[in-house]
Symmetry: C2
Subunit: 457 residues, 2 copies
């Protein structure tokens, strides 16, 4: 094989970064499980008609074809494609297994998804998502829309990454406002408002006029869509700003009440993380209640690393409807940015806390018994691959980032253990010695604690 080269759009981390990615997904998983979300792994493929079920043909789908398919065309399956998100498989799984599920069904799912898009920074053809969703049977209480935002904020805040800002809006606020303003085609208005960053206020005003809006109405839309809250404050100022525009509508009131409940709960549980932001238009056309977007503070150009919202109809089976609310962490986008900017690192690349030295090949079994005794108490341990001079074995541990080297005595119960960072060496017994908790396993650390920046270049 000639030296292989990376495939554009299919990121793959080197060893130290592999451990960091796993620490991130383990950290997310831990918080998801603390909140009672159960694991789900779906197959990577779906029939093409399922993938196209929601009419999202703008997604670049990868279809499968068997290399030797020509030979036995009679075997031709219905066309299969790789899933482009974890929501379509969830909807299909819920329909297929509804008889085995207890509703509201709470699941998390951490898997790669594939999109045949043109690669660019932050856009990948294969990337890992970590999703949580809560799916009801017929009904789904509003408080789950609050819950999902809090779990996502808690999970991301538990990682040693830059602070996050979770921006929240509600479809009912926008729909109620535009209706109350006298613009009943709210879907069309939302599509126009979504373009304000691209075409500016004048462009938006022109398009709104085409939809039949007066100048006053267009100005009200622009003022409305510029309302954002302040991190660390409650919903009061935002509610007042909306009311000052003089529009009244029952759906608007309901939406403002829901938004206030999300903001106030977050202010209590994860203060400073969540802000109401009426400028969010993306997603409002297919979500039906709360919508979420999340940015890393100071790295907003990266785009949203965690988005989602409420669907009144995640799935439907005849007259039976399954509403859902969920949020999806873009793990690969998040990790790619953090690793690329040296903002996060793993304390070491390998799980091993201890390398047991080998005195000579004839005594490898003594070292193996020491290692077994340490492992029985949960201490990740390797035995030196060679019986080279101790200095060389220590350098091997150092290159791998293993903090401790164990030198066995004549008897496998006793020996000495050296912390190769400090050089301290003490007598130790394999059945009782334990490394400091911080050294037991590799952990994820932020930029201030990154001891080995050269690993991240």
């Amino acid at each position: 094989m000639t030296k292989p080269r990376p495939l554009s759009g299919f990121p793959e981390w080197r060893p130290a970064h592999q451990t960091a990615e796993q620490a991130v997904t383990d950290g997310l998983r831990r918080v998801f499980e603390l909140h009672g979300f159960a694991p789900l792994r779906t197959r990577a493929v779906e029939p093409l008609d399922v993938l196209l079920g929601k009419g999202e043909t703008d997604k670049e789908i990868y279809l499968l074809r068997r290399l030797q398919a020509e030979a036995d065309a009679a075997d031709a399956d219905s066309t299969l494609g790789l899933h482009f998100d974890l929501t379509v498989p969830l909807a299909r799984y819920v329909l297929e297994n509804s008889g085995h599920l207890t509703f509201p069904y709470r699941r998390y799912q951490i898997q790669p998804v594939w999109r045949g898009e043109r690669p660019q920074e932050g856009r990948y053809r294969e990337f890992v998502q970590a999703d949580i969703d809560i799916v009801g049977d017929g009904v789904l209480a509003f408080h789950h829309e609050v819950e999902v935002a809090l779990v996502a904020a808690e999970a991301l805040s538990a990682l040693p990454i830059p602070p996050i800002r979770l921006r929240v809006n509600n479809r009912k606020v926008a729909e109620g406002f535009y209706t109350g303003l006298g613009l009943p085609d709210t879907a069309a208005v939302l599509r126009v408002m979504d373009k304000v960053d691209k075409i500016g206020a004048d462009g938006v005003t022109g398009l709104l006029t085409d939809l039949g809006a007066t100048d006053d109405q267009a100005q009200a839309c622009l003022r409305f869509a510029a309302i954002t809250g302040t991190p660390g404050e409650g919903f009061g100022a935002v509610g007042a700003a909306v009311k000052s525009l003089g529009v009244t509508d029952p759906l608007l009131d309901q939406g403002l009440d829901e938004l206030a409940r999300v903001v106030d709960a977050a202010q209590r549980d994860v203060p400073g993380v969540l802000v109401p932001d009426l400028s969010i238009a993306r997603g409002l056309d297919y979500y039906t209640g709360t919508v979420y977007e999340t940015h890393l503070v100071g790295h907003e150009g990266l785009g949203s690393i965690c988005s989602g919202g409420r669907y009144d109809e995640l799935a439907r089976d005849g007259s039976r409807v399954f509403p859902g609310v969920g949020i999806s962490v873009g793990v690969t986008r998040l990790i790619g940015a953090l690793l690329g900017r040296s903002l996060v690192a793993s304390t070491r690349a390998v799980p091993s806390a201890v390398l047991v030295a080998v005195t000579d090949e004839g005594h490898r079994d003594v070292s193996q018994r020491v290692a077994a005794a340490l492992r029985r108490r949960g201490i990740s341990t390797e035995v030196s691959p060679t019986a080279a001079k101790f200095g060389k074995q220590i350098r091997y541990a150092d290159r791998r980032g293993i903090p401790f080297v164990w030198f066995p005595g004549d008897d496998d119960a006793a020996g000495e253990v050296k912390d190769i960072r400090s050089g301290d060496q003490v007598p130790a017994v394999a059945s009782t010695w334990t490394p400091p908790a911080v050294d037991l396993a590799p952990t994820l650390v932020g930029p201030d604690s990154t001891e080995e920046p050269e690993e991240l270049s």
Copy 2:
């Protein structure tokens, strides 16, 4: 969406089984990490020429094609296919990242692989493998061939599954024996001997005669390939049986010595699990040293659930060669068989140990504070989705398999907690109460401990 149906060859577990699959992969991962194997996740796709690099065109590869590829043919990538194992991606990763790796490189990898084969029992088109490999730079000491067998045996033996039998052979034994016997085209002899189960002794004798073997030589081959050890015994009887055939060869002696070292080490560390078995021919044509196959005792018809061996040339970059030894657990085959036969189950489908009841919607925040206090100490907790009558909330917990229901008091610090299995209810404080360790998280249990067999139907 109409009710979706399962896709043949793409197994997917229902909720209780999802948790069991995760417990199996978590258990394997834990042992792999205790032995210092670091995580690796490679992309799912490889260029077709990499997938065909070893000439294994018998594997049914899935190629990718973008749904909208016609529109911009200029973008045509080199053809990409889904990986059919985790060894080809490992070899490619090692070549691509050799400058960032410390050798011997030890990694584990737990990912799905895809093969477009005709589905049948125990054969899937998408299945999860859990691999460990140790890869050297230029050289790789023999003791790693012992190590890989022991780690696999330890990892599988730690699961509450039927006992395993790890059968081991060595390419050098076979090659040395056939050479010493006067049949130098050992590759051809191995291909013939691999057919003995299908065509019987007479058929094999005929084919060996075609290769120029005398009747005596053919009989010696058949006697040799029938030698197997006895679980729980050392290598002595097997070595004696080979020697009794009167063939001498230096490679045979080396192979027997290596095989004895694997068997004796296993007899010491995992007694009764590993047996030498000279009848194993599969894989001997591409592995170069020790080979492994593993069966569930009493379920041999399932085939091998864990196989591997030593490659002298896992990868090559010009004159630089990377030898490797590895073993691969067929997670989906193992789980599919165990779940299908009700031989294993998860104690519950959800991570939640506690459901906090809600007295009325106006007091949901009290229940949420109780849940937060429990979660802070690592206790997975849900808040009841409704403020229905307590009897209904208890039935909800029961359906989900949640063992404890918490009834909040007026004050969020105190309340009562009921074990809904025994009915015992006691006063409790959320900042200090802890469930018994066995109830903290779902665990995998064997058939004797399976409390809810109906979950497995």
